[in-house]
């Protein structure tokens, strides 16, 4: 102890104490502060936002404004949330090819990683619905019949009984739901893209959405069987009438012509 007390007055003593104190607080902080992993995530997130912003200024800003605030050519994206981006870009609707009654589905241009970056950027502009998880959109454990009832009550007016699509005013339309990724159906209900009303969780609960997805999977999915034979588009009496006229009556008239031509005719002079 003598040695230590003897150097107490050493000119560097204060510096050493300061270093020790700093090391102690730093160590304590390191021990008690949130896990360092979280720190790394924050970095990735901000990286994604940065990358998303770059993609946005190239592909989207001309209509939606440089900060996503919107312009005369496109709506503001503040608060639309990541789900809206994942739906619009993930189904190829955005970036839009041309203005018109409605922006249609087309080939997806961005990779899923890029879509995620764009979504991260838009989500950073204001809070909004997030991209659903796998379990939220999986038809497992859902009530198909309940989903059907909900679908007929809320969706069939525009999308038809089993989601074959239908017409809206002035060239707009409710698209067919055949072959649509369940994630996108969920996001569409959540965000209400284009002419569709939105069905937030307060209107259609998470369970309800799952039920609807399960119903669509059952009646309009890849494994759906049509017990009656050809579905004829599932459009109802118009396509049935057309089929009945062309193939029903058409075949019968052909048969009639055949029968009439095959008769014990007297020889023509």
């Amino acid at each position: 102890m003598k040695k230590l007390s003897a150097r107490r007055r050493h000119p560097l003593a204060a510096v050493v104490v300061l270093l020790l104190a700093l090391a102690a607080t730093g160590g304590l902080y390191a021990a008690f502060a949130p896990a360092s992993k979280a720190q790394a995530d924050t970095t990735a997130q901000s990286l994604a936002i940065d990358e998303g912003k770059k993609l946005f200024s190239v592909g989207c800003a001309s209509c939606h404004g440089t900060g996503g605030q919107g312009s005369s050519d496109g709506p503001s994206l503040v608060g639309v949330g990541a789900a809206a981006v994942d739906f619009q870009v993930g189904t190829g609707r955005m970036p839009a090819q041309q203005p018109g009654a409605q922006i249609a589905r087309k080939k997806v241009i961005y990779s899923q990683a890029e879509i995620d970056q764009l979504a991260a950027y838009i989500a950073s502009l204001g809070a909004g619905p997030t991209i659903p998880t796998k379990s939220q959109v999986s038809p497992e454990g859902a009530d198909i019949a309940k989903g059907g009832e909900l679908f007929r009550t809320n969706c069939a007016q525009c999308h038809n009984f089993t989601g074959k699509g239908g017409a809206l005013t002035h060239g707009k339309f409710a698209p067919s739901l055949e072959g649509v990724d369940p994630k996108h159906i969920y996001e569409a209900m959540q965000t209400g893209p284009q002419n569709m009303p939105s069905f937030p969780d307060t209107t259609l609960s998470e369970k309800n959405k799952k039920d609807i997805i399960a119903y669509l999977n059952a009646v309009n999915g890849d494994d759906t069987e049509s017990p009656g034979g050809l579905e004829l588009g599932g459009l109802g009496p118009v396509s049935e009438g057309l089929f009945g006229w062309i193939f029903g009556l058409g075949a019968l008239v052909a048969v009639a012509v055949w029968v009439a031509a095959r008769t014990a005719k007297a020889k023509k002079s």
């Binding site: 009530d143 198909i144 019949a145 309940k146 989903g147 059907g148 009832e149 007929r152 009550t153 069939a156 007016q157 525009c158 999308h159 038809n160 009984f161 239908g166 017409a167 809206l168 005013t169 002035h170 060239g171 339309f173 409710a174 119903y215 059952a218 009646v219 049509s226 017990p227 009656g228 034979g229 050809l230 579905e231 004829l232 599932g234 459009l235 109802g236 009496p237 118009v238 049935e240 009438g241 057309l242 089929f243 009945g244 006229w245 193939f247 029903g248 009556l249 075949a251 019968l252 008239v253 048969v255 009639a256 012509v257 029968v259 009439a260 031509a261 008769t263 014990a264 005719k265 002079s269």
Partner: protein
């Protein structure tokens, strides 16, 4: 008959064969010998278009047969039950017994779905067949005296068929048909003054109530088919009584029928044709789905789907309502819904327009003679143009009825289609009328040319001085006869308005109208005078170039 002659030549003690005994027994009680004698050798002419009516008859029989099978399993009740059948996406849903039993027919009853689909497809084809059959009769003028009554029978069958179809389509109480019934209720409600009472009477109270399926059921399986069956029998009796019409041709006159006898040729053909019709309809029912009620779900008045249309034969009424602007008048606390009421009034008029035409035509021509020789449509341009215009009118309305399907499948705006139908409702028939008439006149000119100058042989000849001519071959006598067999009416003049004493007679308005119409039907602009014998002789006597 040959059987009676053989029995005469046989010693009377010998026992007659069993068949003869049965025939004798029946003859003594039913008089079948004379019936058979007069009808077994009935002649029917051969043409495929004369078999369109048979398609209707056979599909009607198929509908009755399959319909009987369906009644064995269908419960016409609107009591609410919970579904426990094998179709998973509806399990646990509440529905009416009618829907439940239709699901049962479709998924659990052996052959139920196939029979349901045969029944429904046959209904669509029955109506389509009647439509085409009616048009065949129309365009060939087969409705003329003495067949006016039979024309009306046929027309009534078509209209009753529409309503039988509609009531049948409503029975399963599914979401699609329920929307159709709601539509009908709305139309009834729009009738001024009595509409509400009528609707309450029909549904036994507020829509949908608990009665309409049972009521529609008795209408669908008993009342309407009963009347239709009677009309079909009457229709056939009249066909037998009038004998069948035939197209003009050598040896065919207004007083004979050239063709094959009922027995054995036509019996064999018609019998075989029945099975062909049954086969085609069954094949279609096995291939293609129709009215998949499991996809539509049970009816609930708070639900609706897009693409909710009636079957095709009611489609024109759907078109009327879809394109009608939503006008309404409010007076003294009452609403007159013109947007629905006007279509309701036009709906029967569309049908009546074609039904009354034969009577208008016979009034204009003033022709009281019987006609058993059919017209070629081109030789009666005004009638043909009217028929084509009517079909186009009907088709425009069908486009209106399916405007949403047109919009989605042809990437059009539904509003533009609606406007097209609104304008087309007035304009398209006129355009089609004019064009069809021109086409008919053109064909008449071509016929005339063929008669006078012969058929183009395709052989080009070079004359010594270098001119090229095409060699025309004269037609055969048969062809000449067929092309010139039709008679042409002359426009009816208003007779002298002053009699021999110089007294002016009053000319009635109807007489003036008739003369005007007659000029329009048969005037210079409406038919090409057919070649006369003199013209033919002059041209073929060697003075002509070819």
């Amino acid at each position: 008959m040959s059987t009676t002659t053989t029995s005469d030549s046989r010693p009377s003690r010998e026992k007659a064969p069993a068949g003869e005994k049965v025939a004798d027994w029946a003859d003594g009680r039913l008089g079948i010998y004379s019936l058979a004698k007069s009808n077994m050798r009935k002649i029917f002419p051969d043409h495929w278009s004369f078999m369109l009516g048979e398609i209707c008859l056979y599909s009607f029989i198929i509908i009755i047969l399959t319909g009987v099978y369906l009644t064995l399993f269908f419960h016409p009740s609107m009591n609410e039950v919970t579904y426990h059948g094998s179709y998973v996406p509806l399990q646990g849903q509440l529905m009416s017994e009618a829907f439940n039993s239709t699901m049962h027919i479709s998924f659990e009853v052996r052959g139920g779905l196939l029979v349901r689909q045969i029944h429904h497809w046959a209904a669509l084809i029955f109506l389509a067949g009647m439509f085409v059959h009616m048009m065949r009769v129309f365009f060939t003028g087969a409705f003329r005296k003495p067949r006016e009554v039979n024309w009306l029978f046929g027309f009534l069958l078509f209209v009753l068929g529409m309503f039988t179809g509609f009531t049948g389509y409503s029975l399963p109480d599914d979401l699609l048909s329920g929307t159709g019934v709601r539509f009908m209720e709305g139309a009834v409600l729009s009738v001024p003054v009595v509409g509400t009472y009528l609707a309450f009477f029909l549904f036994g109270g507020q829509f949908p109530g608990g009665d309409f399926v049972a009521r529609f059921y008795s209408v669908h399986i008993l009342l309407l088919p009963g009347i239709m069956l009677g009309l079909v029998v009457g229709h056939l009796i009249l066909v037998f009584y009038h004998k069948h019409t035939q197209f003009a041709g050598p040896g065919k006159t207004n007083n004979n029928v050239v063709g094959m006898p009922l027995l054995p040729v036509y019996m064999a053909k018609a019998g075989g044709f029945f099975f062909l019709v049954f086969g085609v309809i069954a094949a279609i029912a096995a291939i293609a789905s129709i009215n998949p009620i499991w996809s539509m779900g049970p009816y609930r008045p708070d639900m609706v789907s897009t693409g909710a249309q009636p079957d095709w034969y009611m489609g024109f009424s759907e078109g009327l309502i879809r394109v009608m602007p939503g006008w309404e008048i409010n007076l003294w606390g009452h609403t007159l819904v013109l947007g629905v009421f006007i279509p309701l009034v036009i709906f029967p008029l569309v049908l009546v327009a074609i039904a009354v035409y034969p009577f208008i035509e016979s009034w204009v021509t003033g022709d009281k003679r019987e006609h058993h020789i059919l017209d070629r449509p081109r030789n009666v341009p005004t009638r043909t143009a009217f028929g084509a215009a009517w079909i186009s009118w009907y088709f425009v309305l069908l486009v209106g009825g399916g405007n949403d399907i047109w919009a989605t499948h042809f990437h059009l705006s539904i509003n533009s289609i609606t406007w097209f139908v609104r304008i087309g409702f007035f304009v398209v028939p006129v355009i089609v009328f004019v064009i069809t008439k021109r086409v008919c006149l053109g064909l008449q000119r071509r016929d005339k040319d063929k008669v006078l100058h012969g058929r183009e042989s395709g052989i080009i000849k070079r004359l010594p001085h270098g001119e090229f001519i095409e060699v025309h071959e004269p037609l055969s006598q048969e062809a000449l006869h067929t092309l010139t067999a039709h008679e042409q009416y002359q426009p009816a003049e208003i007779g002298a308005t002053v009699d021999e004493n110089g007294v002016e007679r009053k000319v009635k308005g109807s007489e003036r109208l008739r003369s005007k119409l007659s000029e329009g039907f048969y005037g210079e602009d409406s038919q090409i005078p057919k070649p006369t014998v003199e013209e033919y002789k002059e041209i073929t006597s060697g003075h002509g170039h070819h």
